[in-house]
């Protein structure tokens, strides 16, 4: 039995299967390598954007007026940023590939009867995950990992010194990424010791909690990147919980660039980085090995999808029978699909992070209770931003299929009228995206604010939600989760993420108008009427578009023509 050959074959299979081929249309032919290429290209593009900042920093650090301490602070701050961003990318990757770490049921049923040893399977999975991790780190830092070290190299440093700094960056990125990945793996492996059904329930909670933690630490961690702050005793407790600073210390020690002034504060951090890496690898490796061999049998015997409760999820009616069937199907699918919830959590986590940065910047001299306890624009902007994140995330996951081959049911049953179908999807989107944010906002505002401004904002927020929903459903001829998906067609959410800063500014300005209008009933009702008219018009246009497109429901995504218009406002 050629174990190495078995390992090689399995390694290739697992590596390419990290991308979910069920998302691909039948016409794509299951070409996961194309999807991997797109994923890699996205990361490289991100690296390009990141490396553009290096030019500005390079100029800044060569300013003659800056002191050595100031230059060191800038350099350390940027190094910490680079390490933090890499760790964030690795963390998100680890969460998105959470389910790929263990074999799934199909793997077990196909591979277990073959004469393949458990350790070979395990090793192939680990190797595939490690390769994917390495490729992710390499792609993300492919340009930035050279631009930044060169930009941050001390003025007058020679080629050897600069090359050493480049090597130090790459070593640090890989080590930091490995630490975080092993930490996530360790948590997952420890959770996998639970009975399989409990693990399936707990894992989705852990995924979301980890996502919130990663984004929260990234945006909330205090800025301690100067010698005084790093050495201060009162900050040592915080530093114990901020891994990016440990690896920043490692970077400084390995590069030796700031040995003179930084060694005293950086050396303990570097030691902590190395020790934590060792602990993470040990715990993850041990727990993973233990659980892997135990879970192989459990996986074959247990369903992958979290079992429903005995009575199922009770849901109200959403209109006539076909509308109710579609809306309930959409809601149940999102609530029960871990994959879709993970993608949604990514958008919600991003929204939370943007809100956190906005609130932090706007209320820098106030406590949280001060911000929440009075009528102010910060909370209004936060509610609108969360609404946008929830709307965008939910609308995006509607395009991702689940059990694609099972959509034959919708093709052979008499299709509901396109307006009825659209109505059902609209109601589901309102229930899943707008309603939770609206309810949470209502609970917060009605508790802390006088009821008049609270009610005023809630009315506008509800109408805004309705407007967004109808805008995003224009031309939508599908039942969510039942149509194939071709990556690269969606442009609207790419526009959103790249336009986030102008969007926040625009929302800030509009909320300013809202605040002023709240004090003047005439202005307020004029604003409400305008928003209501816009929501009504959007509803009419969306319904008209549905009527024009005909009764057939789309179940197969079509490839783009060779010449493609930008259509930045369109959804797939």
């Amino acid at each position: 039995m050629n174990t190495f050959q078995q390992f090689r074959v399995l390694y290739r299979q697992f590596l390419f299967r990290l991308m979910d081929v069920e998302l691909l249309s039948a016409s794509a032919g299951g070409d996961a390598s194309a999807l991997l290429g797109q994923f890699g290209a996205l990361l490289i593009f991100g690296s390009l954007l990141l490396s553009l900042g290096a030019f500005g920093i390079s100029y800044l650090t060569t300013e003659p007026g800056l002191s050595r301490e100031a230059v060191a602070a800038v350099v350390w701050s940027e190094e910490n940023f680079m390490v933090s961003v890499t760790m964030l990318v690795v963390g998100v990757f680890a969460l998105l590939s959470w389910d790929a770490t263990f074999l799934d049921r199909r793997d077990v049923l196909v591979l277990a009867p073959l004469p393949i040893r458990g350790p070979t399977l395990c090793a192939a999975k680990i190797a595939a995950a490690a390769s994917a991790l390495g490729l992710t780190v390499a792609a993300w830092n492919s340009l930035a990992g050279f631009a930044w070290p060169i930009a941050l190299a001390p003025h007058g440093a020679g080629v050897v010194c600069t090359m050493r700094l480049v090597a130090a960056f790459w070593i640090t990125f890989l080590v930091a990424g490995t630490f975080l990945y092993c930490a996530v793996l360790g948590v997952q492996a420890v959770a996998a010791q639970l009975p399989r059904r409990w693990y399936l329930r707990v894992s989705s909670v852990l995924q979301i909690a980890a996502l919130v933690l990663f984004f929260g630490v990234f945006f909330f961690q205090p800025s301690l990147a100067n010698a005084k702050a790093l050495g201060a005793p009162e900050n040592q407790r915080a530093l114990a919980w901020l891994p990016s600073y440990w690896f920043m210390g490692l970077l400084s020690e390995v590069s030796g660039t700031y040995a003179a002034e930084g060694h005293v504060v950086m050396a303990p951090l570097a030691l902590r980085a190395v020790v934590s890496l060792g602990v993470a690898i040990f715990v993850a490796g041990g727990a993973f090995l233990l659980s892997y061999l135990r879970t192989l049998r459990k996986i074959a015997e247990e369903p992958d999808i979290v079992p429903g409760s005995r009575g199922g999820i009770w849901l109200p009616r959403f209109g006539n029978s076909p509308q109710t069937a579609l809306a309930q199907f959409v809601i149940r699918t999102l609530l029960r699909s871990r994959r879709h919830r993970a993608v949604l959590a990514f958008y919600l986590g991003g929204g939370c992070a943007i809100v956190a940065v906005y609130l932090e910047g706007g209320g820098i001299h106030e406590t949280w209770m001060d911000i929440v306890g009075r009528v102010n624009g910060l909370i209004l902007v936060a509610s609108v931003l969360m609404l946008c994140a929830a709307w965008l995330g939910t609308r995006t996951v509607f395009s991702l299929p689940l059990d694609l081959l099972a959509n034959w049911l919708f093709r052979i049953t008499p299709a509901p009228r396109s307006v009825d179908c659209l109505s059902a999807v609209r109601r589901a989107l309102l229930a899943l995206a707008v309603l939770p944010v609206w309810v949470a906002t209502a609970a917060l505002l009605l508790w802390f604010w006088p009821w008049t401004p609270a009610a005023q904002h809630l009315l506008l927020l509800g109408m805004l939600g309705s407007l967004l929903v109808d805008i995003s459903l224009r031309g939508f001829r599908k039942i969510p989760f039942t149509c194939s998906y071709l990556p690269g067609k969606s442009k609207a959410h790419m526009l959103f993420w790249f336009g986030i800063i102008p969007l926040v500014i625009a929302i800030h300005k509009l909320v300013g108008l809202e605040l002023r209008a709240m004090a003047n009933p005439l202005s307020y009702w004029a604003m409400a009427a305008a928003l209501a008219a816009a929501a009504f018009a959007a509803r009419k246009l969306t319904n008209a578009s549905a009527n024009r497109s005909g009764p057939e429901i789309q179940v197969e995504e079509s490839a783009s023509a060779e010449l493609v218009g930008l259509g930045l406002g369109r959804y797939p």
């Binding site: 999808i305 005995r310 009575g311 029960r336 049911l409």
Partner: protein, 254 residues
């Protein structure tokens, strides 16, 4: 009556179904037989409207189905060959959804679903997700979904696949009962013994073409062969099965 007239289907120029014509009458059980890859499932999919015909026309009760596809779909019950289901739903949720999609009245539909689940021994597992169901259980869900709306035309593609003996016997009787009540039943199966017992009329497909279309009795008489299996072997099996099995045994021994 279901009638196919010169129906063909080509995939990239290759004929999967080639000029197939036959009819299935109400009150009769029509067996649709053929080796793997002969075009049975493709034909079923064309009848249900899942795929379009390349040529020819399909009629139901004298009307082309394309003239009112919506109306036709309301009268068809279909059990596909592969039990693709939404595995995150429970069996009960899936059937309720099917009833709602077909706009059936809620209360009688729920009672009907409950009855079907009990009779097919699925009632105790109705709240479990379909992902936890065995193949036979999924088949029962498909069968229930196909019969829920009391269709006039019932298409069954390998319906016995995965069923236990008792359920197979129930299904066999059910098929005959449905035909006796005036339904048009067209079903394909590889279990020739079952087909011989249940069907009054068979259509045999080979390489996408109809090679036999008659009652089993007449085929026995015409071909002077006592069983459907021998008739099928003569018409649709090209290999010398004994020689092939010897060659396989020799090959793996080598």
């Amino acid at each position: 009556m279901l009638e196919l007239r010169s129906v063909s289907k080509r995939f990239l120029g290759i004929p999967a179904v080639d000029n197939v014509s036959f009819s299935a009458r109400a009150g009769e059980v029509t067996g649709y037989l053929g080796p793997n890859g002969s075009g049975k499932t493709t034909t079923m999919k064309m009848i249900t409207g899942l795929i379009e015909t390349t040529a020819g026309e399909i009629f139901f009760d004298g009307q082309p189905i394309r003239a009112d596809l919506l109306g036709f779909k309301q009268r068809v019950g279909y059990v596909p060959e592969e039990p693709y289901l939404y595995s995150h739903l429970s069996g009960l949720e899936y059937l309720v959804m099917v009833g709602q999609l077909r706009d059936l009245p809620p209360k009688p539909t729920v009672e009907r679903i409950d009855g079907l689940l009990r009779l097919l021994s699925l009632h105790s597992d109705r709240h479990a997700p379909i992902s936890a169901y065995s193949k036979g259980m999924r088949q029962k869900v498909l069968l229930s979904a196909a019969l829920l709306h009391n269709p006039d035309l019932i298409l069954l593609d390998e319906p016995f696949s995965g069923l236990d003996v008792s359920t197979s016997l129930v299904l066999r009787s059910l098929i005959q009962e449905l035909a006796a009540r005036g339904k048009v039943v067209l079903f394909s199966s590889h279990e020739l013994e079952t087909v011989e017992r249940v069907c009054s009329h068979v259509v045999i497909l080979h390489h996408g073409k109809v090679v036999a279309d008659d009652s089993i009795e007449r085929l026995r008489t015409l071909m002077a062969l006592p069983t459907l299996e021998e008739i099928f072997s003569q018409l649709a099996v090209e290999q010398d099965t004994a020689a092939v099995s010897r060659q396989i045994a020799d090959l793996i021994r080598a």
